[in-house]
C-alpha cells in the first residue's frame, strides 16, 4: 500500500465538524452543506466525499468501493482501514455512479439502522435534473437540481422509500458540497409537479 497524502489535519475536530454537516444534511434533506475544507484527497475523490469517508468509515464498518475509484483505494484503506465488502453486504458504499439501490443491504425491521449509506459523487448539486423533495425535515416541499443522477432516479428512489423503516440513505457530494437524501424523503420529478 502506498500512501502519500494526509487525511484530516485535526482528526477529532475535523471529524466532528464533518459529522455535524452530515447530521444537518440528513435532518434537513436537500439543504447543501460543506465539508472537507483543506483536505487533499487523491483524484477523483472530492473533498466532501473524502470527509464523509474519514468521518463515517473505520475499521469497524464495511466499505464497498466503486471500480471507478480504484485509484483511491490505498488512501481510503490507510485513513479509514475499513474492511472491503461486496455491495450487497456493505455498510457504506463510495460510488461514482448510482448503484442498484434494491441490491444493497436495507437493514431489517428489527435493525433498520443496518441499512447501507451510499456516498455518491456527482458533478453538481446546483444545476441539472430538478427534483422535488418532501417528507420529514421539510416543512414544505423543496426543489434541488442535481447533475449526475440517472434520468429515472425518482422512480428508483420510490422503491427504496417504500421499504421504510428499512432502506438505504444517500449522501450526494460535489467538490466540498454535500446534501443528503435519507430514506424518509419522497422524491418526484420537479417538472411533473409544476
Amino acid at each position: 500500500m502506498s500512501v502519500s497524502l494526509p487525511g484530516f489535519a485535526d482528526p477529532v475536530l475535523s471529524a466532528q465538524s464533518s459529522f455535524r454537516a452530515i447530521l444537518d444534511a440528513m435532518s434537513r434533506p436537500g439543504t447543501v452543506h460543506t465539508a472537507g475544507h483543506g483536505l487533499t484527497p487523491p483524484a477523483p475523490l472530492g473533498q466532501a466525499a473524502a470527509a464523509c469517508l474519514l468521518t463515517l468509515v473505520d475499521a469497524e464498518t464495511t466499505l464497498c468501493l466503486d471500480d471507478a475509484l480504484e485509484t483511491t483505494r490505498d488512501w481510503i484503506g490507510f485513513h479509514c482501514a475499513a474492511p472491503r465488502s461486496p455491495a450487497a453486504t456493505a455498510g457504506f458504499l463510495m460510488c461514482h455512479e448510482l448503484p442498484d439501490l434494491a441490491a444493497l443491504d436495507a437493514g431489517s425491521d428489527d435493525a433498520p439502522q443496518d441499512g447501507a449509506t451510499v456516498v455518491l459523487q456527482v458533478a453538481s448539486l446546483c444545476a441539472g435534473q430538478r427534483l422535488t423533495l418532501s417528507g420529514p425535515g421539510l416543512p414544505s416541499p423543496a426543489t434541488v437540481a442535481i447533475n449526475g443522477l440517472p434520468a429515472d432516479f425518482a422512480e428508483r428512489w420510490a422503491a427504496n422509500h417504500a421499504l421504510f423503516p428499512r432502506g438505504v440513505d444517500l449522501i450526494l457530494c460535489a467538490g466540498d458540497a454535500l446534501l443528503a437524501l435519507p430514506r424518509t424523503v419522497r422524491i418526484t420529478h420537479a417538472h411533473k409537479e409544476a
Binding site: S4, P6, F78
Partner: protein, 163 residues
C-alpha cells in the same frame, strides 16, 4: 516477550520484512526518553511531514481457548500510531503500545530513515543496537531471577545419581 534478533514473528515466513519487523519491535519497546539521547551524536533526521497521527487508539488483544484453541477477545490495550513521510518521500510507520505520541512519531521517523541505505547503518549502530541490547539484558535478568526461583527437587533417583 520481545524477539531475539533471529526471531521472526509468528505467522510469518522468513522474509524481506524480517529486518524491518525487528527494528519496529525494538522501537515499540523504547520510550521517547530512551531514544532521544542516542540521537545526540547523529546528524538531524530528515525533515518529515505527518501523514497520520500520532494518534492513540485501541487494539483488541486476542487469546486462544486453552492456549491453542479457537480465538477469543480478551480485552483491549492502548496503542499509539503514527505515519510520516520524510523529505525523500520514504514513508515510515509506527504502532507502539501505550499512549506516548512523541515515541510513536519518533519511531515512525526512524522507520522511514532506516529504509534509506545512507541512514540505515548509522541508525542501526547508534540507536537500534544499543536499545536491543538493553532490552535483551533486561529480559536476561528476568530469566535469571526466574531461574533462581526454580525448585530443585531431590528425589531418590537424583540423590543416587548425585552420589
Amino acid at each position: 516477550m520481545q524477539p531475539d534478533p533471529s526471531h521472526t514473528p509468528p505467522n510469518s515466513l522468513p522474509n524481506a520484512h524480517a529486518a524491518r519487523q525487528r527494528w519496529m519491535a525494538v522501537l515499540a519497546r523504547a520510550s521517547h526518553a530512551d531514544i532521544v539521547p542516542l540521537l545526540a551524536h547523529m546528524p538531524a533526521l530528515p525533515a518529515h511531514s505527518v501523514l497520520r497521527g500520532p494518534e492513540s487508539g485501541l487494539v483488541m488483544v486476542r487469546g486462544r481457548t486453552g492456549g491453542a484453541g479457537a480465538a477469543f477477545n480478551m480485552g483491549e490495550m492502548s496503542v499509539t500510531r503514527c505515519t510520516v513521510r520524510d523529505s525523500d518521500g520514504r514513508v515510515g510507520h509506527a504502532y507502539v503500545a501505550g499512549r506516548d505520541r512523541d515515541q510513536a512519531e519518533l519511531a515512525a521517523r526512524l522507520d522511514a530513515a532506516l529504509q534509506d541505505a545512507a541512514w540505515h547503518a548509522r541508525i542501526e549502530t547508534s540507536v537500534i543496537a544499543p536499545l536491543a541490547q538493553s532490552q535483551a539484558a533486561k529480559r536476561a535478568t528476568e530469566a535469571r531471577k526466574a531461574a533462581a526461583t526454580r525448585v530443585q527437587f531431590f528425589t531418590l533417583a537424583t540423590m543416587r545419581s548425585g552420589s
